[in-house]
């Protein structure tokens, strides 16, 4: 069935950009609502895709093929499966909400929203491309608007953060490019088509590159590229800076969607195409996941800046994803992807909430608050909800995915999983400690007149909270969407291991 839903969902924001370009700068309202409309429509299309999606099939659906640069066998190739679908739902959803969060942006709105929509296109494209070249293009496309969004609308250290983000990611994508080319040339026939690449795992494990096993070399090249995005320790130091300096909505997108792209890259490219190398690297990945969890949590515990704490919590949370997917079990894999989705919603809430308090108090120093729960009970309540979601309280979605990651990893990386359970306590420690310092105790007299969260802010948070709650109670709808694909992925990788006697 050839329809163009996927192209539509990818390029819809482009129409928004065009429309915005023709609106005079002064008509800020119009610009905002165009942006909201574009992402809203995108969300609708994503939901239509969800409706048309057949969750029982593990294959690629709604494929769109077009020859693009035939000289190099490059195709315009979009498709969706159980791995990309959660991300495809998450992206427009968070973008849509982030647009509303962005309503508080009060300088250069026109460029802001145009860049934001461009970012949206890039992210969507990454999750839908099945041609590595196309994937890479979208991967990079999203860099540029992000650079400006941080650099122009960011905080005090915005330039530093922006350039650091850019250089870091560019460094990663350079290696990614090299890995991609290596894949292209090792494969037979030379192609960037991920599906065809994935059909010949033996070629990579058996040929040599630079005198080493080609599969491993390529995996390593891709690994660094993706690891920077995830981010995996020791490639994570851009994250606290970028998250903290970025404006709220951009932090939401950064943490909510961008971090997923790294993990998505592993699952979409590294794992199915290089299963042998994947198994070989699984243990190091799990160890890095453990480091991410403990290190991220410890760093979060020590932060004085609320946003930084939330940023480090992302390092911590992505550690669960790593452990889950490295284990190569059904539970772990599903848990990892589910965790990606959940982290998206939960961390988005957290960043939005940090933005709310920052808009009012103009600082984010945890110690500088105190007793706010009395003054802003609603805000305290929502924040409490988000914090508990972040620390993996049962009944909220994060718990299930974390638990699945653990359960999946346990049979394979027993000691790592055991070590990682420390994260359960540390999560609680940093979230609750921060919560106490902000909201409990006697009211800091500075905040006698603090305003509670307003309707607009609340309405952007409620959908996220609803999803978090719903999936926490009844995760099956989401898990059903992805399990077929992910189980197939697990089987493929493990089968490759069996054949070579791993």
């Amino acid at each position: 069935m050839e329809n163009h839903l996927l192209s539509l969902v990818t390029f819809l924001p482009m129409l928004g950009i065009l429309a915005i370009l023709f609106v005079p700068r002064a008509r800020v309202d119009v610009i905002r609502w165009i942006a909201a409309g574009a992402t809203g429509l995108q969300l609708v299309v994503a939901l239509i895709i969800l409706g048309a999606f057949d969750s029982s099939s593990s294959g690629i659906q709604m494929q769109e093929h077009a020859a693009w640069i035939p000289a190099f066998n490059i195709e315009y190739f979009l498709g969706i499966d159980g791995l990309s679908l959660p991300m495809v739902l998450l992206t427009p959803f968070l973008s849509f909400l982030a647009i509303f969060t962005s309503f508080s942006i009060n300088k250069a709105e026109k460029s802001y929203f145009a860049l934001f929509l461009l970012l949206d296109v890039g992210m969507m494209g990454v999750f839908l491309s099945l041609d590595f070249f196309l994937f890479y293009i979208f991967w990079e496309v999203m860099l540029l608007p992000m650079y400006f969004l941080i650099g122009i609308w960011g905080g005090d250290q915005k330039e530093y953060a922006a350039i650091k983000f850019f250089l870091y990611t560019l460094f990663g994508s350079v290696l990614l490019l090299l890995g991609m080319l290596a894949l292209y040339f090792v494969s037979e026939p030379h192609t960037f088509n991920m599906l065809i690449l994935a059909q010949q795992p033996d070629i990579y494990s058996q040929s040599l590159l630079l005198g080493m096993n080609a599969g491993k070399v390529i995996f390593l090249l891709l690994f660094v590229g993706f690891a920077i995005k995830v981010p995996i320790f020791p490639f994570h130091t851009w994250l606290p800076l970028a998250h903290v300096q970025a404006p709220t909505a951009v932090s939401v997108i950064l943490a909510g969607v961008l971090l997923k792209m790294g993990a998505y890259g592993f699952l979409r490219i590294s794992f199915p195409i290089l299963p042998h190398a994947t198994l070989w690297f699984a243990l190091p990945m799990a160890i890095l996941g453990l480091i991410n969890i403990v290190y991220g949590a410890m760093a979060a515990l020590a932060q004085k800046d609320l946003k930084k704490m939330v940023a480090y919590s992302s390092v911590n949370h992505m550690g669960y994803v790593l452990i889950g997917m490295a284990a190569m079990t059904s539970a772990g894999m599903n848990g990892a992807v589910f965790q990606m989705f959940n982290h998206g919603t939960i961390t988005a809430m957290l960043f939005m909430l940090v933005g709310v308090i920052y808009d009012r108090a103009h600082h984010r120093d945890i110690e500088g608050f105190g007793g706010l729960a009395t003054k802003v009970p609603l805000y305290a309540g929502v924040m409490g909800f988000a914090f508990f979601a972040g620390l993996g309280l049962p009944g909220l979605s994060g718990f299930i995915s974390e638990a699945l990651c653990f359960i999946g990893a346990f049979p394979v990386f027993t000691w790592i999983a055991i070590g990682a359970t420390v994260g359960i306590v540390l999560n609680a420690a940093y979230f609750l400690w921060a919560y106490q310092r902000i909201f409990f105790g006697p009211l800091n007299p500075k905040y006698e007149n603090l305003e509670d969260i307003n309707k607009r802010e609340l309405y952007t948070l409620i959908p996220l909270a609803m999803i978090t709650l719903f999936l926490g109670i009844y995760p099956a709808p989401m898990l059903d969407l992805m399990s077929a694909t992910l189980n197939h992925l697990v089987d493929t990788v493990n089968a490759a291991g069996l054949m070579t006697g791993f």
């Binding site: 350039i163 250089l167 599903n334 346990f410 306590v425 099956a476 059903d480």
Partner: protein, 700 residues
């Protein structure tokens, strides 16, 4: 039945939702009665279940319903409801005490600024607690386990303006999570080996030998018996946290920062008993080593907490440590194999301890109002040293205190006697027959009865110390004393119900012999024995026999020790034959240790938490100031020095970016710049040098 159970489970949640989302409306219209109504309904439903259960009068009565929660193809998790004798009795206890607390709170919490929220949180607590009780698998119990942790957190922190309350709530949650880690690990082991977490599935899995087969490469192919021991101990870790067992007991005394009805409901009667309930559920899979561990921890806790309770002056703190101690009893009972006794003590303890707490709440309430009347905001309303002689002012409360204290001290005709006596007999029997488990192999099994009886003496002593200090003698603060008066009916009626339930015959029906343990309870609850049929195993028959033997001596001994304790308390605090102060100074270190809770908190704070936080600071510092700064941002460039010279923004970008691309590049560019002299003939010479160099490099 299942529908009823579901209603019991979900109705409190409704109450929560109503209280939270319609707060404004409710606070103006006595909305607490909505919650109370809901709660009473669940009580009725619980009674209905109870009636059905009693109607069956079958130890193996059991209804279970399972639904798939989610299914990943080759991995699935289920949710289900299990109704059996244990859960029905627990449900009834929870519903009953919850209802009483709901009613009690209408007066106790009157005028509180977060009145409706308080009721909402009570609702969510009851919901989660019911969830624990009704769960039919370990995963689900874990889910609700955490949720009661949440409600406990919320309720302890109810008066969050007080730093101590905020601290206590956080401490409770985190300490519990430490225990939960263990529980989760145990859960993972079982899930990995057996592929199911359903209670029955786990039991049959182990019994049928699936356990040995399922281990595979886990832990490099662990010994099945050792692994099961560990699984049991790890699951039990959850109970250690939730039931405040040593060494994770530290949160419970602090949790008294919450409103007193909450202390009664959550931190005395129900939630803390969830640990015991969990131990009951894992009882069949415990290996002798695991049982020894459980018993030992329980014994230590029972004795250790009791020693602390002696010296506390805060009325609620005494009760808190008493609770810890009693929970230790229950755990010890289960560890020694006295399954029925342990669970029985859970029920009886719930009643009398809730009674004690609510009664103490009544005292505190009165004190508080009295203090409020004389505009004294500095005096601690909970300090027993400010009380004394209250029996004339608060007769009902006094009466209830006496009843409950007799019960907890193990005096005949009261419920506590029945259960405690059974526990002590169990520990005696364990010590005398144990051949399995590490306690036995180290010849330390007799330490358990020692702990048990020792704690019994102390319990009797401190309970009566409390009564004498509070209700007898002269008032230490006559100014307050004048203003004191008995609490309103909404408070005293629940108290009376609980006091009544501390009498023996509710539990021995149809028998009305106060010394008999053969009532309906011991009929419907029977020791399931073990499902472990490999390695060394717990021998139920053997144990029952020894238990029977030990029954009589234990009963006599326990009576003696109870009398001793009460007598000594009378000597010191009522008759003042022995001065408490001189006793304290004579005991010196022991007194100080007990008074300071054996420095456990200090140990945690200075030994673990502070160093760990320092470690975290070090990590954060390392991350940004060293790792990022030097390694990522480039070789040895001192940002601060530069930024003081150049403008900050420019510095940051130049610095950041160039640091990244590296000091090396910068230096290289800088030096190459000098080659560009502007003199064309220099260029020519350089080019010629290049030519020669290229030629030399390539031609030779």
């Amino acid at each position: 039945m299942i529908t009823v159970a579901l209603l019991i489970l979900l109705l409190p949640l409704l109450s929560f939702a109503i209280q939270i989302f319609f707060r404004k409306f409710i606070e103006s219209k006595n909305g607490e009665w909505i919650s109370i109504g809901i709660q009473l309904t669940t009580l009725g439903l619980a009674f209905y279940l109870f009636a059905v259960m009693i109607g069956h009068y079958d130890p193996h009565f059991r209804i279970e319903e399972n639904v798939t929660w989610f299914n990943l193809g080759n991995f699935s998790l289920e949710m289900g409801i299990l109704i059996d004798n244990i859960s029905v009795i627990m449900l009834l206890v929870v519903a009953l005490i919850s209802s009483l607390v709901h009613i009690y709170s209408t007066e106790y919490m009157k005028g509180d600024i977060r009145f409706s929220r308080y009721y909402g949180f009570l609702g969510i607590f009851t919901f989660s607690m019911n969830g624990i009780v009704l769960a039919n698998n370990f995963f689900m119990i874990y889910v609700f386990w955490e949720l009661v942790g949440l409600s406990s957190y919320l309720l302890i922190g109810h008066w969050w303006e007080k730093n101590s309350a905020a601290d206590a709530s956080k401490k409770a949650f985190i300490t519990n999570r430490v225990g939960d880690i263990g529980m989760f690990m145990g859960l993972m082991i079982i899930m990995t080996v057996l592929g199911t977490l359903n209670y029955q599935g786990v039991y049959t899995g182990i019994a049928s030998g699936e356990w040995e087969g399922g281990i595979g490469t886990l832990f490099g192919g662990a010994n099945p018996h050792t692994l099961l021991t560990w699984a049991g101990i790890l699951l039990f870790m959850g109970a250690v946290g939730k039931s405040a067992q040593f060494p994770l007991h530290i949160w419970l005394p602090d949790a008294m920062e919450g409103p007193t009805p909450v202390s009664a409901l959550i931190h005395a009667a129900t939630m803390v008993a969830a640990g015991v309930y969990l131990t009951v559920r894992i009882f069949p899979i415990l290996t002798p080593d695991a049982m020894a561990t459980v018993a030992f921890i329980g014994g230590v806790t029972a004795f250790y907490a009791a020693t602390i309770a002696i010296t506390q002056n805060d009325i609620k703190k005494v009760l808190a440590y008493s609770t810890v101690s009693q929970l230790g009893y229950m755990i010890m009972a289960l560890g020694t194999g006295a399954y029925v006794a342990g669970f029985f003590h859970l029920i009886t303890h719930a009643m009398f301890k809730a009674g004690l707490f609510l009664a103490s709440g009544s005292v505190i309430h009165a004190m508080h109002h009295a203090l409020h009347d004389i505009k004294d905001h500095d005096t601690d309303a909970q300090d027993m040293r400010n009380m004394g002689g209250l029996k004339s002012k608060m007769p009902y409360t006094y009466l209830i205190f006496i009843v409950a204290s007799l019960s907890i001290s193990g005096i005949p005709f009261f419920s506590g006697f029945l259960s405690k006596d059974a526990i002590l007999a169990g520990s005696w029997a364990y010590a005398s027959t144990a051949h399995e488990g590490w306690l036995a192999s180290m010849h330390m099994a007799w330490i358990l009865p020692f702990f048990g009886f020792g704690a019994a003496v102390i319990t009797a002593f401190y309970m009566f110390r409390l009564i004498f200090m509070t209700f007898f003698g002269e008032s230490k603060r006559p100014d307050i004393f004048e203003k004191m008066h008995e609490s309103p009916k909404a408070m005293t009626v629940p108290l009376m119900i609980l006091a009544a339930l501390s009498l023996f015959f509710f539990y021995t029906i149809p028998s009305i012999n106060p010394f008999s343990t053969h009532g309906w309870f011991s009929h419907v609850i029977e020791n399931p024995g073990t499902v472990v049929n490999f390695g060394s195993t717990f021998n139920l028959e053997h144990f029952e026999h020894a238990n029977h033997e030990a029954h009589m001596p234990a009963m006599i001994l326990s009576l003696i020790v109870a009398t001793l304790g009460i007598g000594f308390a009378t000597l010191v605090y009522l008759l003042k034959k022995v001065s408490a102060e001189s006793l304290a100074s004579k005991l010196g270190v022991l007194y100080k240790g007990s008074f300071n809770k054996w420095y456990m908190d200090e140990f945690y704070i200075n030994g673990i938490i502070r160093p760990f936080l320092k470690g975290c600071d070090a990590v954060a510092l390392f991350d940004m100031e060293y790792y990022d700064h030097y390694l990522i941002n480039g070789a040895g460039r001192n940002t601060k020095k530069v930024s003081s010279g150049v403008g900050v923004a420019d510095d940051l970008i130049v610095d950041g970016a160039v640091n990244f691309s590296g000091y090396i590049f910068q230096w290289l560019g800088w030096s190459l710049k000098f080659i560009q002299t502007g003199r064309i003939q220099n260029y020519l010479i350089f080019a010629l040098i290049g030519v020669v160099a290229v030629f030399l490099l390539n031609a030779f």
